[in-house]
Subunit: 303 residues, 2 copies
């Protein structure tokens, strides 16, 4: 009776993370780079089985709960967006077709907002996990990453949200632009400077970026200062644009270290009350909450 009774999966564009659980206890966890971005529709089941086949008890159907891009139109099965304002999580989950009779696969829907147009896939599950652990919490949740999300939560519902391209922009600029010659490593002082500059005059972002290159050429600006300042400039500009979200609110930052700490530090300089939370734990808590939405008898595999 110590066997696994469900599988949780966080399936993004560039990654797949899975956990094998019995109730709330994690028995196994692993990951691969088989993100949605490199899979065709019939590639999802094999990619999942490659990680979990050895965990599966024979002679029974194991439910798999998935959040993230696996539910997009190019994913395993499209899980249509739910429109805000709404709870971050609600049934029915969308069942994905599979051939292996040991699996019953269910995907959590993302959220959409009409104006300004915006979408979320995956972070809604982290929000649900956070709220499951903090019942009755009202405030703003910030989820930094490739596409960082700011989510306003009130009375258990997502009221509105806003996506920023900050992380992707940092990757492109630091690895592929002319700035790549001038940035490497990390120095906290550069980050603080960048946040202050980015917040104070966000409209000058486009001008300040090339300044990093010019300062390296003319003044020998250190590469670790330059890289941290680049991150600070972008995050500072994001914070300036997200001011309607954090102003006068408490903020929970859900993310991976050190990025979540960087956001918390930047918010701290604005006197915003802030807590930080590890994203895998919130994802797992959210997927556990999603599992309670399954019908008591999980239907068997769709063939």
């Amino acid at each position: 009776m110590s066997g696994l009774d469900w599988i949780a999966a966080d399936w993004g564009t560039s990654h797949l993370r899975v956990w094998g659980l019995r109730g709330d206890t994690v028995l196994h966890q692993t990951a691969s780079d088989q993100g949605m971005g490199q899979l065709s529709r019939d590639g999802f089941e094999p990619a999942l089985l490659a990680l979990v086949a050895d965990w599966l008890p024979e002679g029974q159907v194991t439910p798999v709960i998935i959040c993230g891009m696996a539910g997009s139109r190019q994913g395993w099965a499209e899980a249509p967006y739910r429109a805000v304002p709404c709870t971050p999580l609600d049934g029915p989950l969308v069942q994905a077709p599979c051939r292996d009779l040991r699996l019953s696969v269910h995907i959590v829907p993302g959220l959409q907002q009409a104006k300004p147009a915006d979408v979320i896939r995956g972070e809604e599950t982290q929000v649900a996990g956070f709220l499951a652990q903090h019942p009755g919490w009202d405030g703003v949740i910030c989820l930094p990453g490739t596409h960082s999300k700011w989510v306003r939560v009130s009375a258990g519902e997502v009221v509105s949200f806003q996506t920023f391209l900050t992380g992707e922009m940092f990757g492109l600029l630091s690895e592929q632009s002319v700035l790549r010659h001038s940035v490497a490593g990390w120095a906290d002082a550069g980050f603080a400077e960048g946040v202050a500059q980015g917040m104070e005059r966000p409209e000058r972002l486009m001008a300040r970026l090339f300044g990093l290159r010019a300062e390296a050429l003319l003044n020998g600006l250190a590469a670790d200062i330059a890289r941290a300042r680049l991150s600070g400039l972008l995050i500072g500009a994001e914070l300036a644009a997200a001011k309607p979200y954090w102003l006068g609110q408490r903020v929970a930052v859900i993310g991976a270290a050190p990025l979540a700490q960087h956001y918390a530090q930047a918010l701290g300089t604005l006197s915003v009350p802030v807590t930080t939370h590890e994203s895998p734990a919130m994802t797992l808590a959210g997927l556990a909450a999603a599992r309670t939405l399954l019908p008591p008898e999980a239907p068997s595999c769709v063939n």
Copy 2:
């Protein structure tokens, strides 16, 4: 006596353009993709000869005047920056080592600004060419491109300048970010919208970018509108940051079509008096002005 008497070259990071001239008359022109970015120091002379060897009169030394990244530290020979305020062009040019006795190669120095730190290599020659054709002109010169430059000119001198990463950012976002799925083609209406949004609330740039993706997913935003709006958002944000440059000034835009027209159109909506000028013509006029700085007897090749 109808033979070529000098060669002009615009040698950037990713391109090499050369002209064979007699006085102001272009006898030959050609180009290659042998930019500085892919050449080691001893690769410059062969790359140049590959284009011009057939043009060279035997038994005499032909001067070659080069502007651009060939004068950078990683270039053919470093031509140290001159500090603004100063004329866009002044001697001595920097002589580059070469083995072919038919060539005498001279590189135009770039410009540097201490605060805010900034550098120019190549555009100073276009500015010089423009001023050679418009003596006594005062105002602001805008040179859009991978790295767009705004240059304040007064009494024949470059007073100050500012570089924006706009073009490079557009390339990265439209070709390599998540937005690449949603942008293709061009629709003028999208550009005008983007400029207006980018100018009005430049601090929201980072938020509006993902909106293009979300609008494509939710509202079927057309890819040609989206791509033009992306360009407009970035150029609008640049114009907002460059306001101290263009406000109350006349602006000469030097660039290639259609980008120069897009900038002129955007500046026109701000009631800025604007003219546009083709960049190759300005480069050539600037290199011709640089040629007059050579000593009467061009020294022979440095071996």
